[in-house]
């Protein structure tokens, strides 16, 4: 059963083509990692899934529904959640208000339930419930960003570089949580530069290079692949 399918997706920024026909499939309940160097088009791929910018050709199918031409707001309300690159929490709002924003289209009871769940995953957030989010450390902000994305009770969560700029210990913690999310039945699409950790966690992986998928295999096979090791894992 596939959750998200990209079929030969091309994306343009003005006249420049950033994705030259990318096909990716994410099945229900798995963790799929997308790795690639700077400028390979990882973030563009995610943004295209979210409909900003929209794909210039190809199809994007979410749970059997074609969302290629759907507006961003409606895509983001259809069971998919994204943790954007660089966290992008609302720094002026409190932790609790940030979480509530995540469940904007949910009922009050659901918000309460999902909020408790987020606090269970990240007890640190509970401690800082009424603090301005911008005053927290980078790791706590990343936890908040993930917690906020979970507030809409998504079937699938997309994480864009969750390890960016975090201490190794915090990265380990974040990856543990990502594994835990899969155990809860949430499909995870993980985009990372930190190839080692991303691939060891993933069921399957894709390698993106200059807007094209170069390789696709199981996470373990990619980790063992000599080309991948040379290019992304430092030999």
């Amino acid at each position: 059963m596939s959750m998200l399918v990209l079929e030969d997706v091309h994306t343009h920024y003005g006249k420049i083509e950033a994705l030259h026909g990318v096909s990716v499939e994410v099945n229900k309940g798995e963790i799929v990692s997308l790795i690639g160097a700077n400028g390979a088009g990882k973030t563009t791929l995610l943004m295209t899934v979210c409909g900003n910018p929209q794909a210039s050709s190809g199809r994007i199918i979410l749970e059997g529904r074609d969302i290629t031409r759907a507006p961003t707001a409606s895509i983001m309300r259809s069971g998919i959640a994204i943790v954007p690159e660089g966290r992008r929490i609302f720094s002026g709002l409190t932790v609790e208000e940030n979480l509530h924003m995540g469940g904007f289209f949910k009922s009050k009871a659901e918000i309460r339930k999902n909020q408790d769940h987020a606090y269970e995953l990240f007890p640190r957030l509970k401690e800082r419930e009424h603090q301005r989010a911008g005053t927290m450390s980078g790791g706590e902000q990343q936890m908040l960003a993930i917690g906020r994305a979970l507030m809409s009770k998504p079937k699938m969560i997309i994480l864009d570089e969750p390890s960016l700029g975090l201490a190794p210990l915090v990265i380990k913690q974040i990856f543990e949580i990502i594994g835990h999310l899969r155990d809860e039945g949430i499909t995870v699409f993980l985009v990372e530069q930190n190839a080692n950790q991303a691939l060891s966690l993933a069921d399957r992986g894709y390698v993106l290079e200059t807007g094209r998928i170069r390789l696709q295999d199981t996470g373990a096979n990619l980790l063992a692949n000599p080309d991948v090791r040379a290019a992304y894992l430092g030999g």
Partner: protein, 423 residues
């Protein structure tokens, strides 16, 4: 250290000299082959030179001076105080606000007619600033043409009265809704724009409305304005000496008291007070509702807000519309208070003053904005004795505010830190 500042200090001193030339009205006149300085006696010249020297010395040693200022004991005795408990502060807030409202209700009976009139003006600006606070402070959309919606409200009432004889109370919602419609319509083209570009477009819109009002002479009377706009009535009671409109009664006859011109002023003040309170409460309610939080989220981070499924278009439009609604509200009251309006009342300076109130008060903070409205409108009145220097003083006060409290008089609070004691 002083050597590094030398060039800068010299530059500042020269600027001081150059600026004092137009400000003090000096004049260079050619007399034959010589150029003579006119309009200044020796004392003025000496003080200009002294001022330049003072600026030079201050800039030269400013690091020392500012350093020692920093070491001085803090002048604000409350600066290092522990933050109050949330529940206690909320109770205090409620008590202070209730006392303020009661005070504002009793106050007009104790003071002069002029003060009450001024207070009505302040309240109109409070309404305007609270409305603009939604657009600028909460939604983070810089609107430099806010006065246009104010004008729409005022002209709606004036024209409705002139052509259809519609009373204040009926015109109030119509004016506000029409202004809101204009806000909605303006919202569409400006949605793609951000920051500076948005400011320019709204500025243009403000000017378009004013110039339209000025040139549509057949409808608005152009620069001659519209006069004879009636005061509000209170349950069909008028405040004049004689009844103007059939079917109405007279306030002093109904209550069997002698006629006084003060009645009208005081009742107008009270009506404005009620409307300002209504504005404050409604907007306060909005900020606690999801729509208010979505404004703030969009201001904080547009991409994040969109990633959560918020529709950028509808959030921005709602902020623009609601802001414009209350400007229309204030405009109707203004037209009724003045009795005469012309495009002159709706120039860019008005937009700038309202924006200054919002920024001074602290973006997003209601109490701050109300305090700032009081300060900004009353200060120039108090400084009337300084006549031509009062705008200078006003400017100085603004600059000092921005240096000492860049976050505004009372910034929006959201700090609540409870650190657990380490064991």
């Amino acid at each position: 250290m002083a050597a590094q500042n030398f060039k800068h200090a010299l530059f500042c001193a020269i600027v001081t000299l150059v600026i004092s030339y137009p400000i003090l009205g000096l004049n260079l006149v050619a007399q034959g082959t010589q150029v003579v300085l006119e309009g200044a006696d020796t004392a003025t010249l000496i003080s200009i030179v002294l001022a330049a020297v003072a600026v030079f010395l201050f800039q030269l040693f400013r690091d020392h001076i500012m350093g020692s200022v920093g070491k001085m004991p803090n002048l604000n005795p409350f600066a290092n105080r522990e933050p109050m408990e949330q529940s206690k502060r909320q109770r205090l807030d409620t008590i202070v606000l209730t006392l303020l409202v009661i005070g504002a209700l009793i106050w007009p009976f104790l003071v002069s007619r002029g003060s009450v009139d001024l207070a009505t003006l302040v309240l109109i600006y409070v309404m305007l600033a609270l409305g603009l606070n939604v657009v600028v402070g909460l939604a983070g959309l810089l609107d430099l043409g806010y006065v246009a919606f104010y004008a729409v409200g005022a002209y709606t009432f004036a024209l409705l009265y002139q052509y259809f004889n519609i009373s204040f109370w009926l015109a109030l919602p119509i004016g506000a809704c029409l202004a809101a419609t204009f806000g909605f319509l303006l919202g569409f083209p400006v949605l793609r724009l951000r920051g500076d570009y948005l400011a320019i477009v709204t500025l243009g819109f403000g000017e378009i409305i004013r110039i339209l009002l000025n040139n549509m002479t057949w409808l608005t009377g152009g620069p001659n304005g519209i006069g004879g706009i009636p005061d509000p009535t209170l349950f069909g009671m008028e405040f004049g000496r004689r009844v103007k409109e059939e079917g109405n009664t007279l306030f002093h006859e109904v209550f069997n008291i002698s006629y006084s011109g003060n009645h009208k002023i005081i009742v107008l003040y009270l009506i404005t007070l009620v409307l300002a309170l209504f504005t404050a409460l409604v907007i306060r309610r909005f900020t606690k509702m999801p729509v208010g939080r979505s404004w703030e989220a969009l201001r904080e981070d547009e991409i994040a807000a969109r990633s959560l499924g918020l529709n950028r278009t509808s959030v921005k439009l709602s902020a623009f519309t609601i802001g414009a609604f209350f400007a229309g509200f204030a405009g109707t009251v203004f037209a009724s208070k003045q009795g005469f309006i012309s495009p002159e009342s709706f120039v860019f300076l008005e937009s700038a003053i309202i924006l200054a109130i919002v920024v001074l008060g602290g973006m997003g903070s209601q109490i701050g904005v109300i305090l700032a409205a009081v300060a900004v409108i009353i200060l120039p009145e108090l400084a009337r004795e300084f006549s031509e220097y009062r705008m200078l003083l006003f400017g100085l006060a603004m600059v000092l505010m921005m240096i000492w409290r860049p976050q505004g008089l009372m910034p929006m609070r959201r700090i609540h830190i409870e650190l657990k004691k380490q064991e």
